[in-house]
């Protein structure tokens, strides 16, 4: 993990309140694996806490971050211009394991971006990738890019596009083989999905998010309850920033 000053290469709006930011920081970009995230820091000392943002893609020089404006920090990042600097910490957390069998990649809302890098990695490993993306309505983003890695199925809450309903509804409707599923999105989606996959006897990996303070595993702000005793505090709390954000869903105490 590296703490550094990155330089903005490009920024564009790709949806309502959704921005696509590329930050040059080779030391972080080279090590970044699917499922990991970075923290960006506000330039304003009155906004203290780093903002965890998933890594959507990477190349040797830069990380690509797709985020939604959720408050002061993300608004500030959305107003960056090429050449501006931003303090950045990363890559953070445990990535998705390297898979050897075909995989379903699921993203819901602003949980979609980190799945793009995972889909590419799996495709490059010779695996068949099927992507299921959940949106509120027809205002989709990144879905075209997933098509480079395999079939893409879309579900929308209001029925605007694709399957009317949740990603689980879409998976059920298309009767997809759920032997191996990876997902990032809102908590209710992850809960519903992992219940479905585990009941079908599949393996399910999920990326969790939680309010964080330090981002390095020291403050114990971002824990999630697990079935097994954790290695840090010897209770049943794994740190999302350190042991996560990717967890085997069967190990979580939902």
């Amino acid at each position: 993990m590296k703490y550094s000053i990155g330089t903005v290469i490009s920024i564009k709006k790709i949806g309502e309140g959704i921005f696509d930011l590329r930050v040059a920081e080779p030391g972080i970009a080279r090590d970044a694996e699917p499922g990991q995230f970075v923290c960006l820091y506000s330039d304003d000392g009155a906004h203290l806490l780093p903002r965890p943002i998933s890594i959507c893609e990477r190349d040797e020089e830069s990380v690509r971050l797709v985020f939604r404006i959720a408050g002061y920090g993300t608004k500030e990042f959305s107003e960056k211009k090429p050449g501006d600097t931003v303090r950045i910490l990363g890559p953070i957390g445990n990535p998705y394991p390297a898979f050897t069998s075909n995989v379903i990649v699921v993203g819901g809302g602003i949980g979609i971006p980190p799945m793009l890098y995972l889909a590419r990695k799996c495709k490059e490993a010779g695996l068949k990738v099927t992507t299921v993306l959940g949106y509120r309505d027809k205002n989709t983003f990144l879905d075209e890019e997933f098509k480079a890695y395999g079939d893409v199925i879309i579900a929308t809450d209001n029925g605007d596009l694709g399957v009317h309903g949740t990603v689980v509804d879409a998976i059920r409707e298309k009767d997809l083989d759920v032997s191996l599923v990876c997902a990032c999105g809102p908590m209710p989606m992850l809960k519903g999905l992992s219940k479905y996959v585990l009941e079908k006897g599949g393996r399910c990996y999920v990326s969790l998010e939680e309010r964080m303070a330090c981002g390095v595993g020291a403050c114990l702000g971002c824990i999630t309850k697990t079935k097994q005793v954790d290695g840090h505090s010897h209770v049943k709390n794994q740190r999302i920033c350190t042991e996560g954000p990717v967890f085997d869903a069967s190990e979580l105490d939902w």
């Binding site: 009155a46 203290l48 806490l49 595993g217 505090s233 010897h234 709390n237």
Partner: protein, 303 residues
């Protein structure tokens, strides 16, 4: 000009007055990838109890204007793991080990301090002021008689280890509590712990933190902390570790001038993981610029 930055806390010399604030820095392991711990005066470890504590439900942290609320609830692995893993890790560095101790009852504090009296800790900091734990903790730090009693009880089993009592700002008159722990035999005082606060999520019509209330820290609390350090420095003879919103060398110097012998840096670690080292060098730069040969000249210099 050689500048002297060494200070003494109850007979324990620190190479400089910069410490980490308990709970924000773990036992230094995670931050050691950003900071050379040997450059710090000492590491104050996260509160440790006799047995592991689970802490509170999430969300546990929330940003507020120039600060943050936390209600971690003192999650910690307990003394067995701490003594096997955390203290030996810190022993590799040339820095002081200040171990923060928490408990629910007098017996729990006494048991922990008894065990730690045989350890490699240089100083024990007794947390009688955590606002996020219902039983014990805060109640010991808000009633003068209880603060005196708990101090006496831990001093009786601390052996040669200096005991610093960590005080809560959530009281009407902090000097009353300071005098009480002095009467109880404390070797020093740490102040301030966090200020009790609350945030409401207006969209969800719910408390932002699962614990409802949390402890406020960060630059927002600094003026309160400086005032309390000054008041306590002028009401007891004990050395003080001052803390509360320190984010840069200038902030640290304010605390020294108010009467603290050392300072702890907490929430600022979250905004900049290298901040502790930067504060050490910033203090040296200030002393050089001001032609101050010995840092002790400025401790309590504002009366």
């Amino acid at each position: 000009m050689a500048i002297k930055t060494e200070v003494k806390l109850a007979g324990v010399s620190l190479k400089n007055p910069v410490l980490t604030a308990s709970g924000t820095f773990g036992s230094g392991m995670e931050f050691s990838q950003f900071v050379d711990l040997s450059k710090l005066g000492g590491v104050v470890t996260k509160g440790v109890s006799v047995v592991p504590w689970e802490g509170n439900p999430t969300p546990r942290v929330m940003e507020t204007a120039s600060g943050m609320l936390n209600a971690i609830g003192l999650q910690n692995p307990g003394l067995d793991v701490f003594l096997k893993r955390d203290l030996p890790f810190l022993e590799q560095f040339n820095t002081r080990r200040i171990v923060n101790v928490c408990g629910h009852t007098t017996e729990e504090y006494v048991k922990a301090v008894e065990i730690l009296s045989e350890s490699s800790a240089d100083i024990l900091e007794i947390n009688i002021s955590c606002p996020n734990v219902k039983a014990g903790g805060i109640t010991f730090g808000t009633v003068p008689k209880m603060a005196e009693e708990i101090t006496k009880a831990v001093k009786a089993v601390a052996g040669k280890k200096p005991v610093f009592m960590k005080l809560s700002p959530n009281v009407t008159d902090i000097t009353e509590i300071a005098k009480a722990v002095e009467a109880g035999g404390a070797d020093g005082i740490s102040l301030i712990n966090t200020l009790l606060g609350m945030k409401i999520d207006i969209r969800r019509r719910a408390f932002a933190l699962a614990n409802k209330t949390g402890g406020l820290s960060g630059p927002a609390v600094k003026p309160v902390a400086v005032r309390m350090v000054y008041q306590v420095a002028n009401s007891v003879k004990l050395p003080l570790i001052g803390m509360g919103g320190i984010a840069c060398a200038e902030d640290a110097i304010e605390f020294l001038m108010a009467g603290a012998t050392a300072v702890s840096v907490g929430t600022a670690n979250f905004h900049n993981p290298k901040v502790t080292e930067e504060i050490v060098s910033g203090i040296e730069a200030f002393l050089t610029e001001q032609k101050i040969a010995d840092i002790n000249e400025i401790i309590g210099c504002v009366r």
